[in-house]
């Protein structure tokens, strides 16, 4: 009897917590959408659907910003996944234990380096290098490279955890048959590898879509459709960050609309990833 009451209370508490956690996003979306609604009146839906973003002359077309967000995220993901998979494989499967542990700590720390630090380093070190090929250097490519450096540890850590979830006994058994580590990977490691990659890249993609600081500093921030990797671009979040402090009226409403669109893009991409990726369990450490 005592148990039943305690258990019922336990269930109520945990379920309420779950509901609150699930509800946070809804409240966030509702508030942003509410403020974005004003944008439908002024500057109006047709203005938002335009292809030029220049609020100072009354142009509020979001297309170049949406393109900018997607373009940076796509290239970033490509680089981060390749690099992160390599590092994750090295740490979680190939390297001897001591080296792996040290590298693992390095990756965990790297995963926490603030984007502002990466952005500043990118601006002072990477941009001049890229500038030799595409003057002055602030560009789509620079933004994706620095962002990939920022997000790569996340992918690596995820791949590493998934690979380490493979029981040691299984790995030893496979090694005992004389197969090389790669053959061993092909035998028992592919599913955890794929799983770790999917989870890691989903996390990385979500952050890439929402990232602001790095892009602000190195992407060039010209609201246009870039014609090549060396051209500057501006993202949805970059526009909000750059213009929020100085906007009012129609411009301000349009910026909230950008925020709502940014959220919608994340939802769309995550739904897509969910369909492609399947289940997502992560075992860390």
């Amino acid at each position: 009897m005592f148990h039943r009451r305690a258990d019922a209370l336990f269930t109520v508490v945990t379920r309420t917590a779950g509901a609150v956690s699930g509800g946070v996003l809804l409240v966030l979306a509702a508030v942003i959408a509410w403020h974005a609604l004003a944008a439908l009146g002024d500057p109006g839906l047709s203005a938002l659907l335009g292809t030029r973003w220049q609020p100072s002359s009354g142009h509020y077309g979001v297309a170049p910003l949406v393109f900018g967000t997607l373009a940076v995220a796509a290239l970033t993901l490509l680089i981060a996944v390749v690099g992160g998979a390599a590092a994750g494989l090295a740490v979680g499967w190939l390297l001897p234990a001591r080296v792996a542990t040290g590298l693992r700590l390095l990756l965990l720390i790297a995963a926490g380096i603030p984007s502002v630090v990466w952005g500043l380093w990118g601006l002072t070190t990477l941009v001049p290098l890229i500038g030799r090929w595409a003057p002055p250097g602030t560009s789509w490519l620079s933004a994706s490279l620095v962002l990939a450096a920022l997000l790569l540890p996340t992918v690596a850590v995820s791949v590493d955890s998934s690979l380490r979830a493979v029981p040691a006994s299984a790995r030893q058994a496979v090694a005992a048959t004389g197969l090389s580590p790669w053959a061993g990977l092909a035998a028992i490691g592919l599913r955890p590898l794929r799983h770790g990659l999917v989870v890691g890249s989903t996390l990385a993609l979500a952050r890439a879509l929402g990232e602001t600081m790095v892009i602000l500093l190195v992407a060039g921030n010209v609201a246009q459709f870039p014609r090549g990797l060396g051209d500057p671009l501006r993202t949805l979040t970059g526009a909000i960050a750059l213009e929020m402090g100085y906007a009012s009226g129609a411009h301000l409403a349009a910026l909230f609309a950008l925020g709502a669109i940014a959220l919608a893009v994340v939802v769309a991409i995550l739904v897509l990833a969910q369909c492609l990726g399947g289940d997502r369990e992560v075992v860390l450490a």
């Binding site: 609150v20 956690s21 380096i113 979500a206 602001t212 909000i240 909230f256 075992v283």
Partner: protein, 282 residues
């Protein structure tokens, strides 16, 4: 295996090894490059005074004391919300099956992907204006909690689920209440994973800039309570590098301090995980 096939594997193996190690080396090199550049810029400003003095000359001299206090304050509020709410939610999700749980998970995934500047705007409008907190550590902490919650819940749930099913089954067979089973058996067993989730959450929190600029503010005064505004480390780095002429060395030094705190917390996290692993019933 026929010999020509063995050689084939060996070639492939070597090539694969070379590729992976080359890429990993590039990754490590870039990280090392960043850290070395940071240390070089920070060198003139690195000293133990950083931890105890107030900033002077807009941060180009003196220390980081109010900034460290502000960071601690924001983190405290954030964790005070995230730890209970996140743990309870992780338990709920680990227990439940079906649509409700999937919806909550999906919602948290989207929240994880919400652009930090959008969450910051929300924090400004709701915590700052509507709830009347204004620019304050409390407002910043609550906003940060929204960003850290998904990380802690998803990783926490995974940790709880990884506990072998025999444990709760045995507990039930022995007549233990569900509550006791959770509190005394499952959670302690899952502690390594839960601590890891917390460590990652803290790492995410320390790195946040944009959202806190709008909510906790940019005042470099020593906050006297959670209702006061304050400047967290990441915001301080941004301000020094962007708005103060000649502030680069101080920005780099602040970044070094942040990395030191990060390293300490991650190392502590890993150590705690290793310890609870060892004392775990297997």
């Amino acid at each position: 295996m026929p010999e020509h096939r063995l050689i084939h594997w060996r070639w492939r193996s070597t090539l694969a090894n070379a590729t992976v190690f080359a890429l990993t080396a590039v990754v490590v090199a870039i990280l090392a490059w960043l850290v070395i550049d940071l240390l070089r810029s920070a060198w003139p400003r690195l000293s133990w005074n950083l931890l105890t003095e107030d900033p002077r000359r807009a941060g180009r001299a003196g220390g980081l004391a109010p900034i460290l206090v502000a960071t601690a304050g924001v983190l405290t509020v954030c964790l005070a919300v995230v730890v209970p709410l996140g743990l309870a939610t992780a338990i709920a999700l680990a227990e439940a099956r079906g649509r409700w749980a999937n919806m909550v998970r999906a919602s948290l995934d989207v929240l994880a992907g919400a652009p930090s500047i959008v969450v910051g705007l929300f924090g400004l409008l709701i915590f700052g204006d509507a709830l009347g907190l204004g620019y304050s550590l409390a407002s910043g902490g609550l906003t940060l909690a929204m960003m850290v919650l998904p990380v802690v819940v998803r990783l926490g749930e995974a940790a709880l689920r990884a506990v072998p099913a025999e444990l709760p089954a045995t507990a039930a067979a022995l007549g233990l209440s569900r509550t006791s089973c959770w509190l005394r058996l499952i959670i302690p067993t899952a502690l390594p994973g839960l601590l890891a989730a917390l460590a990652l959450g803290v790492g995410r929190a320390l790195a946040e800039t944009a959202a806190l600029l709008f909510t906790a503010g940019a005042s470099e005064r020593m906050p006297e309570s959670l209702a006061d505004p304050g400047r967290v480390l990441a915001v301080h780095i941004y301000e020094l590098a962007m708005n103060v002429a000649g502030g680069e060395a101080s920005a780099a030094a602040s970044a070094v301090v942040l990395l030191a705190i990060l390293t300490a917390s991650q190392a502590l996290g890993l150590a705690a995980i290793a310890r609870s692993r060892r004392s775990r019933p297997s």
